[in-house]
């Protein structure tokens, strides 16, 4: 079981990803913009962060930089998930330091398998 922070400014996306994460036995935490994401990442120290790129207040790139820059949660995998699909966005995301890049719409089952590959096996699952 892992703790996954989902950052997205649309209710449907949070609902969808929360449902899928809980179905796989994980705990879903939610944030609606980059500022909330940074606060939650530092306080809750999730095992993985799923980050929308374009959000109000603080976008995914700024939030990534803030989380990476902190000692409290500097190494947690952070995956970009976006519906934006601007040409070159994928390259920009990897260059900024995201560990993975996924575009919406997602195919739930495939997506969850890919996401869990980032959780790196049993060491976290067995944790109390």
């Amino acid at each position: 079981m892992a703790q996954v922070l989902v950052v997205d400014d649309t209710d449907h996306a949070l609902d969808l990803l929360g449902y899928l994460l809980r179905d796989r036995g994980h705990v879903a935490l939610f944030a609606r913009n980059g500022e909330e994401a940074v606060a939650s990442a530092l306080k809750m120290r999730p095992d993985l962060i799923l980050m929308d790129l374009h959000m109000p207040l603080m976008d995914g790139y700024e939030a990534l930089a803030a989380i990476r820059g902190s000692a409290r949660n500097g190494t947690c995998p952070i995956l970009a998930l976006t519906a934006f699909g601007e040409v070159g966005e994928r390259e920009r995301a990897y260059a900024a330091g995201f560990d993975g890049y996924f575009s919406k719409p997602i195919t739930p089952e495939t997506f969850m398998d890919q996401l869990e590959a980032f959780l790196g096996g049993d060491d976290r699952r067995g944790a109390p």
Partner: protein
């Protein structure tokens, strides 16, 4: 000079507009596809066979819409000259496996096999995104027009004589000679691919060929009606 700068600004604005439009179209589609899939997986509860059949129809309609949105946006980018394809060293196998992971479900639903044989370490000087879009279109087209058997994606490294290419080989209905060019026209499909409700009569092949042009590559077609077709992405010989 100032015209050049204005043009660049215009392109930048157009790209933002297209990316924004894509965002507004894909966000609701993510809800439609995502929740349909959750229902089909039976997560909220069991479904009867008729409910499953109807939800599969919703899903395939939404997928077709997704492909059309992506292709339409790319076509506008190509027509307006705003699509830039920067050449880079691309691991062909990784692009193919990414494409397959997105399209495997479509093959499974039709009871078709989807096999890949790309030699390890096969790299092309091309554009990752454009190559991915071409592969998605050619592979989903092959699956759409195949009812039994399956689709194979083969990588053929260039050997100094022949060009490097990726073949998308299907065991589908095939294309008569006279229609091999026509299927690359927007919203056209071969007559045998007629009105039987198959998805895909749209922009996929057209956009693929336009993207290939930008990459300096070619798309070749070989086909035996009734036996199947092979669409090949042929890379120009490396002369850099």
């Amino acid at each position: 000079m100032s015209a050049l700068i204005e043009d660049d600004l215009g392109n930048e604005r157009l790209e933002r507009l297209l990316a924004g439009a894509g965002h507004q179209l894909r966000t609701p589609l993510n809800s439609v596809l995502g929740f349909t899939e959750i229902l089909l997986m039976g997560l909220p509860g069991p479904l009867n066979e008729e409910q499953r059949r109807q939800l599969r129809n919703v899903r395939s309609g939404a997928r077709l819409l997704e492909t059309t949105i992506d292709n339409l946006l790319d076509l506008v980018r190509i027509e307006s000259g705003t699509l830039t394809v920067r050449l880079e060293l691309v691991d062909v196998g990784s692009v193919v496996s990414e494409v397959c992971s997105n399209i495997q479900q479509f093959a499974d639903e039709k009871g078709l096999t989807l096999e890949v044989d790309i030699p390890a370490g096969m790299t092309w000087c091309t554009n990752r995104r454009a190559l991915g879009r071409i592969l998605v279109n050619l592979t989903s087209n092959a699956l759409s027009f195949t009812d039994a058997g399956g689709v194979r994606i083969d990588g053929v490294p260039g050997d100094g004589v022949g060009s490097a290419r990726v073949d998308i080989v299907d065991t589908g209905i095939g294309l008569p000679n006279v229609e091999r060019e026509r299927v690359f026209e927007p919203f056209e499909r071969g007559s045998a691919r007629g009105e039987d409700g198959r998805g895909g009569a749209g922009l996929g092949l057209h956009v693929s060929r336009r993207l290939a042009d930008l990459l300096g590559a070619d798309i070749a077609v070989d086909s035996v009606p009734g036996r199947g077709s092979t669409f090949s992405i042929v890379l120009p010989r490396r002369d850099r």
